[in-house]
């Protein structure tokens, strides 16, 4: 299907969004859409225009099974709102105390050079839309250390910063790892408070200068890169 005429193109976009473009023509159009930015802009125009027709639609409450099905399909954890309010048993206090003592003891015993060792077991590239690498992030999860290398200059507005987040494998809210360097060649080493072993990905979001004021990502997510639990 060759679409050269602008008016013809726009009519196709409109009928695609409307849903009256059907059958093989719809499938062909969807294939074209993947490679034609101009076509996608027209489709976006029509999506935003015609959505007004949905305004008058009456809401219908979904059955409780709907949420259950979604969370089953995505393998989501059960909501943990209850456990937040459950009192912590005395045994847990003791275990925590023992863990702290052990951790402090081990850190004093470990040789000095250990502090400078970095043996990454995770290495991911954060890329832009054109798949050009912007940063390389390496993590040594045994030592809970992180190294970020900046491959290109990454300009953002004066009043913005780029913040790095650790996505947690158990689905709880991501934790901030710090702000991303933005000049080519810049390197950053971090020893985050969060346990890197609990993570399964990194994300970079655009935040007010200095980072999210709330501890949660507030701006658009610019990049997401997941990694396996074991590498």
């Amino acid at each position: 299907m060759k679409i050269t005429n602008d008016r013809m193109r726009d009519a196709l976009c409109a009928e695609y969004v409307l849903g009256t473009l059907r059958g093989p023509a719809r499938r062909r159009f969807m294939r074209l859409l993947q490679h034609d930015v101009g076509l996608r802009q027209r489709v976006a125009f029509w999506e935003e225009t015609l959505v007004s027709f949905a305004r008058g639609t009456a809401p219908v409450s979904p059955s409780p099974q709907s949420w259950a099905a979604i969370s089953r399909r995505l393998g989501l954890a059960e909501p943990r709102t209850q456990s937040r309010f459950r009192p912590i048993g005395p045994l847990r206090y003791w275990l925590a105390a023992v863990a702290v003592v052990l951790a402090v003891g081990l850190s004093m015993l470990s040789p000095l050079r250990e502090r400078f060792m970095f043996e990454p077991d995770v290495r991911v590239a954060i890329t832009d839309d054109a798949r050009q690498a912007l940063w390389i992030i390496e993590a040594d999860r045994n030592r809970n250390r992180l190294r970020v290398r900046t491959l290109r200059d990454i300009p953002v507005a004066q009043d913005k910063s780029l913040e790095l987040w650790l996505l947690l494998a158990d689905g709880s809210a991501p934790v901030s790892l710090g702000l991303m360097p933005q000049t080519q060649g810049a390197e950053l080493e971090l020893q985050p408070r969060a346990d890197l072993r609990a993570g399964n990905g990194f994300a970079v979001s655009l935040e007010p200068r200095g980072g999210s004021p709330t501890g949660r990502a507030t701006g658009p997510i610019l990049h997401v890169q997941t990694f396996g639990q074991t590498t």
């Binding site: 726009d10 849903g19 859409l33 976006a44 999506e47 225009t49 809401p59 409450s61 989501l76």
Partner: protein
């Protein structure tokens, strides 16, 4: 804390955009809140298109799986969150309708059902649609609405209204063309 069937009749796009940002970060609580805020509205949209409750809930579930998997591709600078979500639901509904009509394997159509998010002028402004809708004839408006809201094909609209197929097609085509010309003036 979360009412099961809570919904807001007017979707707050800034709130939804920030929830989607957190969903992209795999925040399950944000995902649940997104569901609480939008599911009833989206199910209403789906039900009008597919006609049966079970198919509508299937479309809703498919859509939420896509929200979870593709939240990072949503960019609030390029589209409104409600438009993005409603578009996903509608495309999914159209796919399900096609599947139930033709028994196509769903895998074939599943991947393309994401709305596009491209910058275009006026993405964030409320479209000045109402005066433009007033410029359409009643038939044009009705046909476009039947197609958009109820997911009807040209043929179905023709049967439903007792109007020749060619006439229906030209009402829709000219109606859309007029809409565009009016909005871009």
């Amino acid at each position: 804390m979360h009412g099961f069937h809570r919904f807001s009749p007017v979707l707050d796009n800034e709130r939804l955009a920030s929830l989607l940002a957190r969903v992209a970060l795999r925040d399950q609580r944000a995902f649940r809140e997104l569901y609480d805020q939008t599911a009833a509205h989206l199910l209403g949209v789906a039900l009008r298109i597919v006609g049966t409750r079970s198919l509508a809930e299937e479309a809703l579930q498919d859509a939420f799986v896509q929200f979870w998997n593709h939240a990072s591709s949503f960019n609030p600078a390029r589209a409104r969150a409600s438009t993005w979500m409603i578009s996903i639901v509608r495309y999914r509904c159209l796919d399900l309708l096609r599947k139930s009509e033709n028994d196509l394997p769903l895998d074939e159509v599943a991947e393309s059902a994401l709305p596009v998010v491209e910058p275009f002028s006026g993405a964030h402004r409320e479209p000045r649609l109402d005066p433009c809708l007033d410029e359409l004839t009643a038939q044009q408006r009705a046909c476009i609405s039947m197609a958009y809201v109820e997911g009807r094909s040209h043929q179905e609209i023709s049967r439903h209204t007792g109007t020749p197929l060619g006439t229906v097609k030209s009402w829709i085509r000219r109606g859309l063309q007029q809409l565009r010309e009016c909005l871009e003036r």
